[in-house]
């Protein structure tokens, strides 16, 4: 039993963090230069390698099609998105769209106005569909695991912003982080994010190894991680007080992405119904 990433994966995490801090909105060409694009499809990397990147991309609120393109695992040079719950993220930034009936459609359609303005969410115009490679069950597992990892990145970052703030902000002559009403709320957010991290890494390992528990691991991880990310953002906004409620502060963008993740492929309640069905077959 070993629950640590390899030195190569730790290096990849460090490189990714440094690169993404300098370039939070990288183009697909930049990511291709790093050797990241198509890493899963080519077999050059395991899902655990990709997992490191998905989490790091969540931390910087990356708004592009890289994650879905990896999850789709389609051959060729085209950039792919995936239709999720009837909508397609980054519709106008991709060439092809994978649909749950495993068709590859030409990326065309109307881009919609959304709460999270960085999603590029669109409604696919049905045209040019042809059969795509793979099975939806596996795509969905990879997608749930990737969403969980992205949520872990977002939850961690939102919590770090809160911790930094309450260490500096003073009221009534003390740093507000000394007040237990503030600190205990952030501890609860930390605990939820760490539990989610454990589940997300477990799910990533299950996907990489095609473990028998993969199906239940990915839904467990996604439900916990998305809810933990939303809670971390909400507690972080509260800890920031008024400034956390302003448009100029970055927190609302993390919050809106977390809210999208919470609903993507179903809310936690729907994932827990799946877990219950596996524990208590009727």
């Amino acid at each position: 039993m070993d629950f640590s990433f390899t030195p190569e994966q730790e290096d990849l995490r460090r490189e990714a963090r440094a690169f993404l801090e300098a370039n939070p909105s990288p183009t697909m060409d930049q990511l291709a230069d790093l050797g990241w694009v198509g890493m899963l499809q080519s077999g050059d990397a395991s899902f655990l390698d990709a997992a490191v990147l998905f989490e790091e991309l969540g931390r910087v609120l990356y708004a592009g099609p890289f994650v879905l393109n990896e999850v789709a695992e389609q051959p060729g040079e085209d950039v792919w998105s995936i239709e999720i719950d009837g909508f397609v993220p980054h519709l106008d930034a991709v060439d092809r769209v994978l649909t749950p009936d495993m068709q590859g459609a030409t990326a065309a359609g109307e881009v919609l106005t959304t709460v999270d303005e960085t999603l590029g969410l669109g409604r696919l115009a049905a045209n040019g569909a042809e059969p795509a490679g793979g099975e939806w069950g596996e795509v969905r597992r990879r997608l749930l695991a990737a969403l969980a990892l992205e949520a872990v990145g977002i939850g961690s970052k939102a919590l770090e912003l809160a911790i930094d703030y309450v260490k500096e902000r003073e009221q009534f002559g003390r740093k507000i982080g000394a007040y237990q009403a503030v600190s205990h709320s952030l501890v609860d957010a930390y605990v939820a994010v760490e539990l989610a991290r454990s589940l997300a890494y477990w799910a990533a390992w299950c996907v990489a190894e095609q473990d028998g528990q993969a199906g239940v691991a990915v839904v467990a991880a996604k439900s916990q991680a998305a809810e933990a990310a939303v809670a971390a953002c909400e507690r972080s906004i509260q800890a920031h007080g008024g400034i956390g409620f302003t448009w100029e502060h970055p927190l609302h963008r993390y919050y809106k992405r977390a809210l999208w993740l919470e609903g993507a492929l179903g809310y936690g309640r729907e994932q827990r119904a799946e877990v219950a069905a596996s524990l208590l077959p009727s």
Partner: protein, 403 residues
């Protein structure tokens, strides 16, 4: 990530040697089989876990067998009679105990707290005198830390440990002491230097529980059971050579004890939660639970169990690789205690109108009723949830001290 220089097979074989792998290694799998077989052959029928229990004679026999087989001090160094085994073996041992619903060794206070403290602070004479008999369960230990006026605030203990030249004279009252009614020795913290500043005024001694002036009274809890005890010390003479550390240096010694109390606790807790979740699922199957609200909560507790389990594995990996417990480990007890409270309450809801029935041969004869009441102690014992949140806030998140 890329295998530019390495061939595909080299890269793959390297992956198998390191990195996340949640399966048992061949060595771990062999150890697990060995433990499982040992439990199957050796666990006395009378020792199988029941809902409500005080420490029975059968458990002493079970503890003796565990000691003989080398399972008592798995992570203790070989020089003190331990197995010197990796922490992963300790985790596997606890998982298998829980899966078999077997009780822990009766000497848990000795093995987990007194022993490591004696190893860290004891003289050679103390090590020779006490350590071996902890493992064999020949001598049982209890803990004399909490007092009626000193719970979370351990530094405010008032039990006096006076230096009378020839010996220490102990007067005071301790509380919440498991095993005190069968214990031979007590790790005792009291006021050694009443006039010294806070944190420099405590003395830590080994007290003989059979000495004149020691009285143990059972403390009946909300469950109706007396799992804990009060200990009264009245003019009890403790030999001078029984001090651990310096007179007035008891605080540092006590911190060693508490560090070990929470050290590998996570694995034991995850293992008991595993049993509870399995029983909960068994109950839900028996009752053919179809209510989606109940099913949602059952799924939530199963997910929480997996989260605690894999968080412990992450902590174990950190501990194994660095020798230092990582921040992951500090949250296990906090999460476990609240999960156990929710879960036992949920079981009562599934029982419905039968939730009031303590006996009568239905629904495990009061198993869940006992467990639910007992669970209220989980957020108080071994560090209240409030104290644990302070510890995480200050030591893990780096927030300013609250007091």
């Amino acid at each position: 990530m890329r295998c530019a220089a390495a061939t595909q097979s080299e890269r793959c074989s390297r992956r198998k040697l390191e990195g996340v792998d949640l399966r048992d290694t061949p060595d771990e799998a062999a150890f697990r089989q060995e433990v499982r077989a040992f439990i199957a052959e050796n666990l006395p029928e009378a020792s199988k876990l029941r809902g409500a229990r005080r420490f029975e004679e059968a458990d002493r026999e079970w503890s003796r067998r565990l000691g003989e087989a080398g399972y008592a001090g798995l992570t203790w160094p070989a020089e003190y009679g331990g197995a010197g085994a990796p922490y992963s073996h300790q985790a596997i041992f606890l998982e298998e105990l829980a899966a078999a619903e077997a009780p822990a060794h009766q000497g848990v206070i000795g093995i987990g707290m007194a022993g490591p403290t004696i190893m860290a602070w004891g003289t050679d004479e103390q090590k020779n005198r006490y350590l071996a008999k902890i493992l064999t369960a020949e001598e049982i230990w209890c803990q004399g830390f909490s007092e009626p006026g000193a719970g979370s605030d351990l530094a405010s203990v008032r039990t006096r440990i006076e230096d009378r030249g020839e010996h220490f004279l102990v007067n005071g009252q301790k509380v919440w002491s498991s095993f005190a009614h069968i214990a031979d020795f007590c790790i005792l913290v009291g006021l050694g230097l009443p006039d010294a500043p806070r944190y420099q005024n405590l003395t830590y001694v080994i007290a003989d529980m059979h000495a004149p002036g020691v009285e143990v009274r059972p403390l009946v809890q909300i469950t109706g059971q007396a799992e804990f005890n009060e200990i009264f010390f009245t003019d009890v003479q403790v030999p001078k050579e029984n001090v651990l550390g310096e007179i007035g240096g008891g605080w540092q010694v006590a911190m060693t004890t508490l560090l070990h109390e929470r050290g590998t606790l996570g694995f034991a807790l995850a293992a008991t939660l595993d049993v509870a979740v399995r029983k909960l699922i068994g109950l839900a199957k028996e009752r053919a639970v179809t209510d989606p609200l109940l099913r949602d909560r059952i799924a939530r507790e199963w997910i929480e169990l997996q989260a605690v389990r894999y968080t412990n594995y992450r902590a174990l990996t950190t501990l194994t690789k660095t020798g230092i417990p990582g921040p992951e480990g500090s949250i296990s007890k906090l999460v476990w205690s609240e999960a156990n409270q929710r879960l036992t309450k949920l079981a009562l809801e599934i029982l419905g109108s039968h939730a009031q029935l303590m006996d009568g041969g239905v629904d495990g004869a009061g198993y869940w009723q006992y467990q639910q009441l007992r669970s209220r102690g989980n957020t108080i014992e071994a560090g209240t949830s409030e104290i644990l949140r302070n510890i995480v806030a200050e030591r893990v998140l780096g927030l300013p001290r609250s007091r």
